[in-house]
Amino acid sequence: MAGTGDAHLRQGDEILLRVEDLVVEFPAGRKGRVHAVSGVSFDVAEGETLGLVGESGCGKSTTARALIQMPRPTGGSVWYNSQDLATMSAGEMREVRPDLQMIFQDPISSLNPRRKVYEIVSEGLSVWGNKQGAFTEGRVDELIEAVGLDPRVAREKRPHEYSGGQCQRISVARALVLDPRVIICDEPVSALDVSVQAQVLNMLEDMKERYGLTLLFISHDLSVVKNISDRVMVMYLGKICEIGDGDLIFDSPSHPYTNALLGAVPDPDNPYTDTAELLEGELPSPINPPSGCRFHTRCAYAQDVCRTDEPQIQQVSDGDHWVACHFPVQRETETQVEVAEKPAPKAPAAPPADSVDDSAFAALKAHRETNLR
């Protein structure tokens, strides 16, 4: 599975953000470097919601932060308004910041506990003043109301006097004060109760419509991502597995990892449980990622080529659906696709030098198969 390849990138005026070959690495003491993101490319069109999904260590949060140069990525370009953010100076980047806002996972930690909520929300206003004439104090009141809170109360209270869901609303209001074009949502509902999640998600959709936003929504929760996204990008260990229109991906997931993810969702009506593959092995270390396709150590379909060659992103059928895999999975559909079926049981691929011994795991699996509930 690769990140390399840009066949899936689109052209056109409506493309707001275009990330090319993003690389984020950082040193890890004597052990080498952590390859958090290794060559990821994608684009976001105006008014679209791109869902970034993957499990821990896949690099989705790192990608989002690298996008707004926080910190600057190790390599690659981030095109916004025909400028490459990655090559801008800090001062130039600062000018662009109001357009690219962010909300965070932990609602409490994202608000300064010592400041009043109203102040927090109007911070953007205080920083930029009335420069563009679009910022007025009335706007702060309007936004606080728009996210469902009372501005008069907000003038007196501090964040700890609000609940988690309310704190997330405050974060959204803070982001909106600067009239951004893009809001990056870094797991904004993961720390909330289910019923509150739904409230916040609905609110985000409302805000998106009302203020004409473009969203980059990061989550590990596939149901949430499916609900809120137009397009979806699945990541694993710093690379893209699959990207494209949400409907297409969820209708016929192509990458074995996407399949595994979907099958694992504990939804009472999960339609993917039949096709789900149990993932083998453990997540490899990002300091020494597997060669070739990074997913090959855990893939039921892996062949020799998967170990040596990194798969390029290729189109699946005719629509906006792209996958980086040598042997993409195909479900039963009418259209003819030339992809390999699941190969006959093979000798286990020799694991990379520092992967784990799977014999215990295999024993457990065998044990489970003989002890079906």
Binding site: E55, D193, L201, N227, A264, P268, V356, D357, L364
Partner: protein
């Protein structure tokens, strides 16, 4: 041990746990009753503030503060244990695993030694015996290369592995009851599936009873024999798992299930959150606790606390106008007609709270 299998392992009757606060008694658990047969799994589902964690920790005897007050009866193996010192039970009769494996494991002790502790303490094993058994345990929870991993520290392991270590520690003393408090909430979804499967296997092998606490109905489904839905310290609905899903009765259970996005729905489906927030546990409102947020709410719900009723097949619920009944349908139709519930929430013509 020739205890009859028919005698339940755990029998909880009208159990209440309160905390003294300056405003009065905070009733975190307000009258919960259930039985747990040997070897079976009870799923306890609720959101934060429902009391599910307090319930289980109190049953275990893990008292968080001196302000805690326990009333009611808890019988473990026929012995009354409420308000007693349950330290002797920990590790041997009942064990608990927690949500965050990072904070539940001792960061400065090697993993092997942490697993060995209960072995040496409760089962009186020697150092060598404990080490061997620890390796066995690690294998049974699916940790690869256990002989090497024994010497590692928790931070060297992934979240899923740490959780497995915690399970190994919990099972080392061969408990009869395992309390799993949101064991997979902090884990990735594929790891979650593995851990839940693992717990199921281990339980079946050891004929161990388990309470699985979670906020996710989906997690409870398919992995539990019975589910108990809690809200504001009370049990709203309790039924064998399949029965709960096919004959859902309580509006809260239905609303909870309804409020999360589903893989089977199309994108941009408008979600149905439960508006408002849980009531004050120090001074709860009269009548049904959920009435303020319920789309079926009638005037009666605001004043009269519903009693628990039992339907066939051991299905209990506490509601005046349950889902799937004539009364319930009438109540909903009523509200739709007037445009609002008895608690003042606006309701759309389709019956959705706005």
């Amino acid at each position: 041990m020739s205890r009859a299998d028919s005698e339940p392992l755990l029998e909880v009757t009208d159990y209440k746990v309160g905390f003294k606060t300056e405003r009065g008694m905070a009733k975190a658990v307000d009258g919960v009753s259930f039985t747990l047969p040997r070897g079976s799994t009870l799923g306890i589902v609720g959101e934060s503030g429902s009391g599910k964690s307090v319930l289980n920790r109190s049953i275990m005897g893990l008292v968080a503060s001196r302000a805690q007050v326990e009333t009611g009866r808890v019988k473990f193996n026929g012995i009354e244990i409420a308000n007693t010192d349950r330290q002797a039970f920990w590790g041997t009769k009942m064990s608990m695993i927690f949500q965050d494996p990072m904070t539940s494991l001792n960061p400065v002790m090697r993993v092997g030694r942490q697993i060995g502790e209960p072995l040496r303490q409760h089962l009186g094993m020697s150092r060598a015996e404990a080490k061997e058994r620890a390796i066995e345990l690690m294998t049974s929870v699916g940790i690869p290369s256990p002989a090497q991993r024994i010497k590692q520290y928790p931070h060297e392991l992934s979240g899923g592995m740490r959780q497995r270590v915690m399970i190994a520690i919990a099972l080392a003393g061969e408990p009869e009851l395992l309390v799993a408090d949101e064991p997979t909430t902090a884990l990735d979804v594929t790891v979650q599936k593995f851990i839940l499967d693992l717990l199921g296997d281990l339980q079946a092998n050891r004929h161990m009873a388990m309470t699985l606490i979670t906020h996710d109905l989906g997690v409870a489904r398919g992995r539990t024999d019975e589910i108990m839905v809690m809200y504001s310290g009370r049990v709203m609905e309790q039924a064998p798992t399949d029965d709960l899903f096919s004959n859902m009765r309580h509006p809260y259970t239905a609303a909870l299930l309804d409020s999360s996005p589903k893989l089977s729905h199309a994108k941009h489906t408008r979600l149905r959150p439960i508006p408002g927030a849980p009531p004050d546990i120090v001074a709860p409102p009269p009548g049904c606790r959920f009435a303020a947020r319920c789309r079926y709410a009638q005037a009666r719900c605001l004043v009269e606390d519903p009693e628990t009723r039992i339907m066939s097949g051991n299905h209990k619920f506490a509601c005046h106008f349950p889902v799937g009944t004539d009364q319930g349908a009438e109540a909903l139709a009523n509200n739709v007609a007037t445009g609002h519930t008895a608690a003042g929430l606006k309701i759309s013509p389709e019956g959705v709270l706005v």
